[in-house]
Symmetry: C5
Subunit: 301 residues, 5 copies
């Protein structure tokens, strides 16, 4: 199990790493600038008959909040589904190793290596990084051939299937046992297919676009609507509202594609290490890898 230290609520208030502040700083400072412009030109543009009151912005702000809430639900659901798949991967690996140890103990070490290579391939495919190092460590010379395939994870799953079919053909396992283990191979296929679906299909582009535009335009005009009432307090209140809306917009976007290295992405390295620890312990090995620890900013990759 991956351990996570908890921070005190007071410390959290001022957290920088792990928050989305760095990502929106530039846009917040744009908002500050607009506030100062609004304050400076207040008297001038009021004489021109240009008036902005807060009432339509209030209507719009609440509407945007409802739509942002919808988008956050959708993007969080993707993040959550991705995490489910990786949890299902751990369960399927444990189950396959357990079943192979029960019916073909002799081949368990090889199956274990294939399973760990499957996990590593999946990780690198989703992150679009190079799987060479991990595959070479686990499979030795076989790695080279795999790396040239379109989808190494799928090929590895096929190898597990070939091994299983071979056992059946040699009469080591009955059709019933074959069917039972094959069903768990299907679990691997479901994890692979599901993760590929998430990685290749973002939320419809127009949602993000629509909310980006609306949020930015809203935050840009807001200071002009606040200035007539709030005067000197305009920058404070305007930046506070902008911070809330921009943060949620940015966070939703970050969670939409949860397989990368951003702060709020899934810690796939830690998850793969955890699977390796589990499978090796089940095989009775004693020199297990150490669980990955968060860095000093409480981040895991």
């Amino acid at each position: 199990m991956i351990l996570r230290p908890q921070r005190h609520w007071f410390v959290r208030l001022f957290a920088w790493h792990g928050s989305v502040l760095p990502d929106i700083l530039f846009r917040l400072s744009l908002n500050l600038m607009m506030s100062l412009i609004a304050l400076a030109s207040l008297n001038w543009y009021e004489t021109l008959g240009i008036k902005l009151t807060l009432a339509p912005f209030s209507l719009l702000g609440v509407s945007i909040a409802v739509f942002l809430g919808f988008r956050n639900s959708v993007c969080f659901a993707r993040f959550s589904e991705a995490r489910h798949f990786l949890g299902a991967l751990l369960i399927a690996c444990r189950t396959l190793q357990r079943q192979v140890m029960a019916v073909c103990p002799a081949d368990a070490p090889r199956v274990q290596r294939l399973l760990l290579a499957f996990c590593a391939s999946l990780k690198h495919q989703l992150r679009r990084t190079d799987a060479r190092e991990d595959l070479t460590r686990l499979l030795g010379d076989e790695a080279e051939g795999l790396l040239q395939r379109h989808s190494p994870a799928n090929v590895l799953q096929l190898q597990l299937s070939h091994w299983l079919a071979e056992q059946r053909r040699q009469g080591n396992i009955s059709d019933v046992v074959w069917g039972n283990i094959d069903n768990n191979l299907n679990q691997l296929a479901a994890v692979l297919g599901g993760c590929e679906r998430l990685a290749s299909m973002p939320v419809p582009f127009a949602y993000g676009l629509l909310l980006h535009r609306t949020v930015y335009f809203f935050c840009t005009l807001l200071p002009f609507a606040l200035a007539p009432d709030l005067h000197a307090m305009t920058p404070l209140v305007s930046m506070f509202i902008a911070y809330t809306f921009l943060s949620l917009d940015t966070l939703a976007e970050e969670l939409e594609m949860p397989f990368g290295y951003e702060n709020n992405h899934l810690p796939m390295d830690a998850i793969c290490t955890n699977i390796e620890i589990n499978l090796r312990e089940m095989a009775g090995e004693s020199d297990l890898p150490l669980p990955m620890q968060p860095d000093k900013y409480y981040r895991l990759t």
Copy 2:
């Protein structure tokens, strides 16, 4: 896996293709016209004792936002369910090919062709396009007979079932193996039935109707309520609010039936090509088709 390039947030702000702007331009210009009429006639109709204040529009606007949020959830759920079915199709095709390669390697090429033809038929059935080209490429002369059937995809699934029953009858596979592979044929049936359900059953018509009417009427009256307060700023604020509401309404409608060629529809060509790449790679073929790439407007069909 289908690759998608990401655009910078600033570039997105001004995206035209992929957004719903082209679809609502006419209605936005209507709204602009109403704003100008409201401004021009402001003094005249106020003398008639006709007054519109923003307060009831604020109440109505928030209500519409809640209902639009509901409709968006419902339509997005359909889009998302459709994407799940296509993901499940990839998984089922891989699994069937894997199982057939394990138990009847000799027939794997024929099964592969039937599976690819199933995918192509499903795509053309959902898009109501002509499947002739794809089916002829995959099945040769058999295609002609299929094209005259009511549901070619269902017939293809039946052929897979016949082939499987034949194997069982000849004693090539046991009842257990038959049952196991047949369960995965059921997955194909579930994908087919699920997609047909989505394509034949829209969200109840009255929802769309109700929101269309409410949104249009709201956007039409809004300028008259804004004009007394905002004067010259009326067109800007009115069009901004109208843009937000009309866009979400339009986008929800686009996602309701996700099997077409619109910007935010599912890239079924790319998905079918991806399935073909996967199945052929599993069969050890080396001249795989290239994955489809988005066009310069980041669109996939």
Copy 3:
């Protein structure tokens, strides 16, 4: 697959059939009357010290919108679940026919008739209409006995089960095949039980009651709160708000019990015809029934 023509957005704005307008016309005219009363008596009741301002109605209106949104979600979920069950019925019928054609081709015609009779019985049970015509067409003399049973659909499923058990007893199919087909009979049972659950268990009565009361009382008082501000525009704005709230309330109620003949109910006739077309095509028949077409108001029954 059931085909549905699409209407242009402009045409939709003025649709009458398929909308809920006919159902709420009476209540809308009540609202109009209250508006006129409010306008006429405005001066009189203001001198009595009776004042209604919009602010509390705004608070209440947004709250009602949230609760109406909740009720709509719940009722739409029932509609959607019902549609899922009917989709699952198509899938289960196809799968059962497919499996029976694979293992007992001789009995396929009889099983097909029983499946179609099951669909027809389910439809008539849910709609509380007379199944005599459909059952006689499909089963001939057997229909009479069925019609006197409490749940003909359940009895038909039992007959399928008896037929299957008989095959097993005679050694035509092994226990494994029996189990496999029996699992798909369970799918029929799940559809039957699920539809019965929806039809016999509405949303808790108090939800509908509470929203009815709140919406009606709100719409009745609203004109008195609008009149002091809007004067002559009161009827227009008041009826618009009332239209939005009453429509959603009415639509939710219509979707709560989706098995009838209302505009937004499920087109069960079309769905049953579609199942019949599919099963007959699978059996190689050529004189298939025609798919049902929507009438000129775009309605299917």
Copy 4:
């Protein structure tokens, strides 16, 4: 199927039974009293400099509406899940009886009695009522022993399992058939475990507490905020808002634990009778019990 008459919408407006009005009458009258106090003391406390305006109450009211909406979703989901379990119980009972009639027709009557006793035990366990009468009617002398067990429903399921194991041991059914029926016993176990989970684990206490407190405090202070604007209309508007919020709060609480005898609880007696009618009809019995009918207040227990 359980039948439910429908009431006309106008009749519903004045329904008393089945609504939550009786439960909140006391609190509504408290609210009326506060309104009168607020009106009477309006001049006095305004001279003291104590002012309450509607704006912060509007903010708070909308927030409470959002949170009440959340709590209602959660509690309704429990109600709905409970109804699903009871629907699954009907399906599982039908399926088990169907399978037993197919493979061991001789023992079907005994299995039927055990299934009906399971349903009755479950009902009485969830309602914490005495199962003696029902169990004695169904099982005769065996009932006494059961009533002294911690969980009679679980023991009955174990007896079904023992019977099934005995059939397998005597060679009446093969391992495959045993596995198939045993899977449906697992459905019973899932229903039992799921209902116990719902009954033993309420929504976290703090949610209800928080909303109770907030709603009551809000309703108590509201008249003081309404009085300065609405004068004589304060009691009417205040009680209307209080009615909406208190009703939803009360209804959510009622649905949280849906296994009792309240108006909006599940009609478990009718559901159990319905299962009995179904199982007996399947066995070919003709003197079936009558379906339970709602009383004159449209209530079923």
Copy 5:
């Protein structure tokens, strides 16, 4: 089944234990202090031209309510999923014991001990407490070896699997029965993996952070916006609003990680005791442990 007494609604209003009041008391008193500062300095800072009006806070407050509602849904879903897993654990344990009693009655006592040890290990792993006492009570000397493993629960599941494989190897059970029981071992694996997922993967840190910051900053500034209107009533209204927002924020955080000893966490001790009572009763034992009772503050651990 775990019993829970119900408290009267009036008593609840003043409940202290079980509420989140103790956790937010410090922050509420900070809010009170800010209210007093706002009141005291009202005249002074208004002369400086610093003005805060309620309108932007109203917009912000409603937005925060929407986002808090979202976060509460997410955190409650975790709590609810965790409760589902523990319910599934009870069902899986009952089913495994039932199946083992049916096919290998002789080994049932040992399997029961392993199952109970699995539950205890899971509980201690999730709570990060010492499992020594529980494991020693259940397994005697075997406990020592288990306690040194990385994941004792996983090892125990492996021992169950070894036992089952041994039965199969000795020919006591057929492959079909092995597959059937093994599927239920997979249920244990799913519970273990699911709980580990919940415990190791919180909601993305940035959500909590964002809402903490927004809620605290909002509550801090609120008194300054309320003071100009409400004067002496500022502390009361401000603390009421702060109470609502801070409570929901705190409660969401508490439910995010539901495996601890907080008031609203899952009563894992009671759940494990309940499983033990059930399994022992199934085995026919008569000296069952007593169900755990809530303490006088209605808390279960």
